[in-house]
């Protein structure tokens, strides 16, 4: 199987779906990028190059550069979705969704329920998330818990190129609004990705590795650190399961509970802030459903409850890493009931 980057995997997903279905359109700031400038064609393909080549293949009607006005174009995408198109919106940084929360929370997410089940809204909002690029507070957040909280939205956070492609194709074919979050630090990571179209279902966690001593549940980029921690721990004789939920809405509660019951110890790794976050949520699900199986308290490894700092040393300390994860697992394994 071919080795491809996370970026390339996403680009292939968009290409497959735009070719397959003429109702799929791509909207966003610079998704063509400089295409109207003299002699320029497809100059950017989005700020991160994910949509490169689409303009040439599908033309400016279906690959549209928008004004920098997220309320208008995210809302327009919601309106287009409920009237027959399948828009894929690119938002450069998830932080910018703050200016158009109304169109996501009050409009797109609610159409189906408040209209008595008679609306479908096949809308995908792609956005980058995550710290690690020295972009500081307004370009680095991991806001997936906010979207996970809202009924009507689905939330997808791929960790590998394979999942990125399969989950994006699934998202585009899905009839509900999907928030699809890409960790920008992962764009250049590579992995095996088939050439053809395939889907990865929502709500099915990926068991990245299996071990009987502890379960590490990790989201997005954190999966890589969790795997690294698990390898370090394996050398010490501690065998960990690493679980990647892949989607936080729907969340594969069954597999999380099942793996908890097998190992009795759980560490949850979440790049988002801790209050009302995914780590807290998953922790409560485990406590409610698998309390009897727990051999140690549930450990959470998250960012601190602060905005993302700028200074490199502070930002590095902000992001959970393999060392903190390994320490948490060791603590769980060493725990003794008094």
């Amino acid at each position: 199987m071919a080795q491809k980057s996370f970026r390339q995997a996403l680009n292939e997903a968009l290409n497959h779906e735009m070719r397959r279905d003429p109702n799929v359109i791509v909207l966003g700031e610079d998704v063509a990028g400089g295409s109207g400038a003299s002699g320029q064609k497809d100059a950017w393909g989005g700020a991160f190059g994910v949509t490169k080549g689409l303009l040439g293949a599908y033309g400016p009607a279906r690959v549209r550069d928008t004004p920098i006005s997220e309320s208008a174009f995210v809302g327009a995408a919601a309106g287009a979705a409920m009237t027959g198109l399948r828009p894929v919106v690119e938002i450069m940084f998830v932080d910018f969704l703050g200016v158009c929360f109304d169109q996501i929370f009050n409009q797109a997410a609610k159409f189906r329920y408040m209209f008595g089940g008679k609306a479908v809204t096949p809308l995908v909002i792609r956005a980058t998330y995550g710290a690690g690029t020295r972009s500081a507070s307004q370009h680095s957040q991991a806001l997936y818990p906010i979207f996970t909280h809202v009924p009507g939205l689905k939330v997808v956070i791929p960790s590998s190129p394979y999942d990125a492609k399969g989950l994006l194709i699934q998202a585009i074919r899905d009839n509900d609004p999907v928030i699809f979050l890409e960790n920008k630090v992962l764009y250049d990571t590579v992995g095996e990705v088939p050439d053809g179209a395939y889907t990865v279902p929502f709500g099915e966690a990926h068991i990245v590795r299996e071990g009987g001593d502890a379960t590490i549940v990790a989201i997005g980029r954190m999966v890589h650190f969790a795997r690294e921690a698990a390898e370090t721990l394996a050398a010490e004789g501690i065998d960990c399961t690493v679980l990647d939920p892949r989607t936080t809405s729907p969340l594969d509660e069954d597999t999380i509970i099942e793996m908890t019951e097998e190992t009795g110890r759980v560490v949850i790794v979440d790049e988002a802030n801790p209050r009302c976050g995914m780590a807290a949520d998953i922790s409560s699900i485990i406590a409610e459903n698998a309390f009897g199986a727990l051999k140690a308290p549930i450990m959470k490894v998250t960012a601190p409850h602060t905005p993302v700092p700028y200074a490199p040393n502070l930002e590095a300390a902000y992001i959970p890493d393999a060392k903190r994860i390994a320490d948490a697992v060791r603590k769980a394994v060493a725990f003794q009931r008094s």
Binding site: P67, A72, G75, G79, A80, M82, T83, N106, Q107, R112
Partner: protein, 324 residues
Amino acid sequence: MTGLQLSREQLLKAYRLMRMIRVFEDRVSAEMASGDIPGNTHLYAGQEASAVGICLHLRESDRIASTHRGHGHCIAKGCDVDGMMAEIFGKETGICRGKGGSMHIADLSKGMLGANGIVGGAPPIACGAALTSQILGRNDVSVAFTGDGGINQGTTAESMNLAQVWKLPVIFAVEDNGFGEATASSFVVAGEITKRAEALGMAFAKVDGVDFFAVHEAAGEAVERARRGEGPTLLHIETPRYYGHFSGDPDNYRTAEEKAAMRRDRDCLVRFRRRVDEAKLLGSDELDKVDAEVQAAIDHAVKAARAAAQPALSTLTTDVYVRY
């Protein structure tokens, strides 16, 4: 006056729809007092010529997106009145199965994309419907109803810019009743509303919203412009709001004299009847007959809504997702 060249059937349809909105809203106001309608309603009475003057130009496949004050737009776009009344009563027979209520009535099969509980919520959605039409080559238009309150929302300004740069087939119908909730627009709306369109190079017109024929004519030009692919139009429609902002609003920021004068001098139904009578197009007896039919239809709607069952509790958790 071009509007007077409408056929007798069109004139009767226009009158029937305007009367239907008026009687519906007056009745909802009365039924609110009984305490059987949950929550809140925002009544459209007084503004009928705006919704009907515009929507008479629209086909079922054309789309509208509406406001808090959405009942009139729904009726003008052809939504089922029984279903609307049941929805407002929160019943299972409601057009949204009792899950939307007054502020979220929608019927996508009629091109009605929803009343909206958010001021400024509609313009982006209407632009999206227009985008669908443009990309699929459907020649449908969409209308974003908003008010003098909504004109100050960023969503409206952004949507107007988007519509103009993309030449979307959309009409921004700004129903200016002089009040955003309880605050007079003179306190909160800077400059002339039409200048906001002018600044974008967008076509615009200012219209007397009490005059059905004036609205109908201006809307006709806007709809034709949109269908020709020449882009959006802003219509600034000055119209009276007979009731307060919401059903329990004491409406004491206007004097009794002002309100009486408004109902006496600025009633689109009275104006319409006078005009068709002077032009000898429709007789009083025909119009009275319409009034009686409308009254019976609303009586039926209320009776049916009262008799209908509440939604089953099992539906509380349905229809959040298509599939989960």
